[in-house]
């Protein structure tokens, strides 16, 4: 009996099996957010032009915050819908994109080729994403005029879907 092999093998195998077993019955896609009906975590970030944006100053209008990245396929899919929504509600709601685990240069060239929407903020250390409990991209938070999170959406959205939520907040 080679004890070393047994020890190393067990150290790998047992935790692996425990983790896999624990993960049953949890849908990786169903994510409840404790933020719903709570005040949105505040942030003050810089946009791509270096202008500061403070969430607190956006009170008074509904805010959509979308975490996205250029490497994320659903983000690319929903990009036109968000552009359309941002145009439709210009001046009545704020549309904020927050860069999630991505490079500012890639984001810039993406926006240069496809056009942007709203304001795109850089979150260099991912602190805001952590504060919002972001699990993956895209994730979108809708915040009412008083700064309370009312809805969280995981995955790509269509224009009608976004409009439906924004209309309810106006």
């Amino acid at each position: 009996m080679n004890r070393r092999v047994l020890l190393v093998g067990s150290l790998i195998v047992v935790p692996l099996l425990v983790f896999l077993a624990l993960s049953f019955g949890k849908d990786p896609r169903a994510i409840e957010s404790p933020l719903i009906d709570a005040p949105a975590p505040g942030f003050a970030l810089f946009d791509l032009d270096g202008q500061p944006v403070d969430l607190a100053e956006l009170r008074g209008q509904p805010v959509m915050i979308n975490f996205w990245a250029t490497w994320c396929q659903p983000c690319i899919v929903e990009h036109p819908a968000l552009q359309a929504a941002a145009r439709r509600y210009e001046g009545r709601a704020h549309f904020i994109g927050i860069v999630y685990q991505d490079d500012a240069a890639l984001i810039r060239s993406f926006i240069a080729s496809r056009g942007g929407w709203g304001r795109t903020l850089l979150d260099p250390d991912g602190e805001t994403a952590i504060a919002f409990g972001v699990y993956g991209a895209p994730e979108t938070f809708f915040i009412d005029a008083d700064g309370t999170v009312v809805r969280k959406v995981t995955g790509a959205m269509g224009i009608d879907f976004v409009s439906g939520i924004i209309e309810g907040l106006l």
Binding site: L6, L22, F24, K26, P28, W71, I76
Partner: protein
């Protein structure tokens, strides 16, 4: 029909239940009669699986909706050839197909290893039948595709539209299954070696071949998956480090490592334990990968939804994992390496570093894939690991692998003098310089591109130099050049094949580097007659067409492609709306050339006839597929018996036959 299918599956289950203990007992007692029976039962298992699959095919083709799986994936409107392949389009069917492939591999092993190896064969068959026991149990019970449905529906929803959308989806899954399931054979052979307590040169040779076969299929399967995703999903890429992609990549990495370790063992008699452990890990990773994709525990674009087989798969994985650890702990010390006469230097060292790199990459990708599960279990938080993590971790390892592919084969086996080493390593340097300069000239002065070019140039020179060395020696000996090339192919196919594989890897690496570093994209919403510019292409939108096909609506944009005022092609990217599905599926139109691909997708057509078009120019994509095909061709070449060995074997057989 449902009952007949059930009976075939139950027969398979029974055969495995009986055959497993018989084969292991035959192995332990070295009984010749027991081995004969194990062989028969293995063939019977293959027969039962074949019959069950044929019954299912018959039910699918005749639209027998009383069979649950047909009711789930069949549809009267589906074209005939799609109906045939919908066997593996959904969970239950794919497990049934898995059974067929396992049966096929078991039968092939029994039929091809007819002579010799009596010491090992019974244990090998026993292990394969034990695996078969699990899968036929799955098919018979929890993932039963043969449930009788009543009342019988008149029509079904049809298979997943992605399957119907492209030919590659038809051949990609079976290739992947052949790779996955095929890993059971080297695993079973390694188990036999451990139980027997020896892994000699005679067993190593078939082991290496049986390892190479699934690696070849896996290579092809992974490539076809990437190609499919590129041609069908419409995002312009071919690899996204999705958990399911990672699941197929992990056993590939360890399989390659095992193969290289086997080569060292064959040459030097060392690294025996490495070979065995790597083979076992490879098999375990195929099971882990299947579990991850079938159980719904990871978030992936491909994964099947939650299914009842998850816990069973986990139990199987658990039993196998624990079994392997215990078996290794008990028996690994019996696999003593033959004492190496000198320290590990030169080529063995390069092989070892290569294996460490592959194992490191395996661990990194595995951790990245499992991290969301671990984080949730430990801290109760949901996290995702994105593409940037994998790219950051993988790129340095790729550089390392490319470097070793250049250095390794340049080095001599065994001990080498300092002077020899210096000469072997310095000679290809001009090729590295040329590669770097070429890459910088064609692309840009980015250091990663320069490094890729230089390493690829170095490795390419060494590969070609080593690959044609036998032919050159023959040509120098007086043979004509074509004849020398031909006879070096038939006399040392393994050597030529191995370097052909390396050539393919170098081409693929370089193409991946170029295609991921330099993409140009452009997009716009165009009215008919308007144009979009990308690179030096002019794309003129001629108009949209709408077509109603039996099972789908097709919205198509007709785009004229021009360059330098000359019309090159008409491309027709489309959006397909299947009747049974909610979301439309994008089908890009791709114009492939040796230099770059023009990739066109249609986002949608508005009521005013304006179309949202997106064009991407990606360099060198086609070389990825070409490189992989070269790898697969090289793998196939490696499996050919050398001419001399073959005639010698025939002579020995003839000698044995004469009294």
């Amino acid at each position: 029909m449902a009952t007949l299918g059930q009976l075939c599956v139950l027969a398979g289950l029974l055969i495995c239940a009986v055959g497993t203990p018989i084969a292991f007992a035959a192995g332990a007692s070295r009984s010749a009669r027991g081995l004969v029976w194990s062989r028969r039962l293995a063939l019977a298992f293959a027969g039962a699986m074949l019959a069950a699959n044929l019954v299912m095919e018959y039910a699918l083709i005749t639209h027998d909706f009383s069979v649950s799986y047909v009711a789930q994936v069949g549809s009267l409107a589906t074209p005939w050839h799609i109906t045939v392949v919908s066997l593996w389009s959904s969970l239950e069917g794919s497990i049934l197909f898995w059974g067929l492939v396992l049966g096929g591999f078991t039968a092939a092993l029994v039929l091809l290893q007819r002579r010799g190896h009596e010491d090992y064969l019974a244990y090998t068959i026993g292990t394969l039948l034990a695996t078969g026991l699990f899968f036929s149990f799955l098919i018979a019970g929890p993932a039963n595709p043969f449930q009788a449905i009543s009342p019988v529906p008149t029509d079904g929803p049809g298979p997943n539209p992605l399957l119907q959308n492209h030919i590659l989806m038809i051949i990609h899954p079976p290739m992947l299954y052949l790779g996955y399931v095929g890993m059971s054979v080297p695993f079973a052979m390694a188990v036999a070696a451990l139980l027997r307590g020896q892994l000699g040169a005679t067993w190593l040779k078939p082991l290496r071949n049986w390892l190479m076969v699934p690696i070849g299929f896996l290579t092809l399967g992974i490539m076809l998956g990437g190609w499919w995703s590129y041609e069908v999903l419409g995002w312009g890429g071919y690899w996204a480090w999705d958990p399911v992609e990672n699941a197929s990549f992990l056993p590939w990495l360890t399989g390659i490592a095992a193969l290289h370790s086997a080569v060292v063992q064959q040459r030097r008699g060392t690294l025996k334990a490495w070979t065995v452990i790597l083979i076992m890990v490879t098999f375990l990773l195929t099971i882990l990968g299947t579990f991850l994709t079938r159980s719904g525990v990871v978030n992936s674009v491909h994964s099947f939804t939650q299914s009842p087989i998850g816990p069973l798969f986990l139990s199987f994985l658990g039993i196998t994992l624990i079994g392997v650890v215990v078996l290794l702990a008990m028996r690994i010390d019996t696999l003593v390496s033959e004492p190496a006469e000198d320290a590990i230097v030169a080529r063995e060292g390069a092989f070892l570093i290569n294996n460490l790199l592959l194992v490191t990459l395996t661990f990194t990708v595995l951790i990245g894939t499992l991290f969301p599960i671990i984080a949730e279990a430990v801290r109760g938080v949901k996290v995702s690991v994105g593409e940037p993590y994998f790219n950051r971790m993988a790129v340095p390892v790729f550089f390392g692998l490319l470097l070793m592919m250049g250095i390794g084969p340049a080095l001599p086996w065994g001990r080498a003098s300092r002077e020899e080493l210096r000469r072997a390593l310095l000679r290809p340097l001009p090729a590295a310089l040329a590669g770097g300069v070429l890459a910088a000239f064609v692309f840009s002065f980015d250091w990663q591109i320069l490094l890729t070019g230089a390493l690829a140039g170095y490795a390419l020179w060494v590969t070609l130099d080593q690959g044609i060395r036998p032919a050159r020696a023959r040509a120098r000996g007086g043979e004509s050049v074509p004849r020398a090339l031909g006879s070096s192919l038939t006399r040392s196919p393994r050597r030529t094949g191995a370097y052909l594989v390396h050539l393919g890897v170098i081409v693929t690496f370089a193409a991946i580097a170029a295609s991921s570093a330099f993409q140009t994209a452009s997009e716009g919403t165009l009215a008919p007659g308007e144009e979009l510019l990308v690179g030096d292409y002019r794309l003129v939108f001629e108009g949209a067409e709408h077509e109603r096909q039996p099972h789908r609506e097709v919205e198509k944009a007709v785009v004229r492609v021009e360059r330098g005022g000359r019309q090159l092609a008409i491309l027709e990217p489309s959006l397909n709306q299947y009747d049974t599905q909610r979301e439309p599926i994008m089908t890009p139109a791709v114009r492939t050339s040796l230099g770059h691909d023009l990739y066109l997708t249609l986002g949608g057509v508005g009521d005013d006839g304006r179309a949202g078009l997106r064009a991407i120019l990606t360099p060198a994509v086609v070389w990825i597929w070409i490189g992989v095909l070269v790898m697969v061709a090289g793998t196939a070449l490696c499996l050919i018996e050398p001419r001399t060995a073959r005639s010698r074997a025939a002579a020995t057989a003839a000698e044995a036959a004469t009294p």
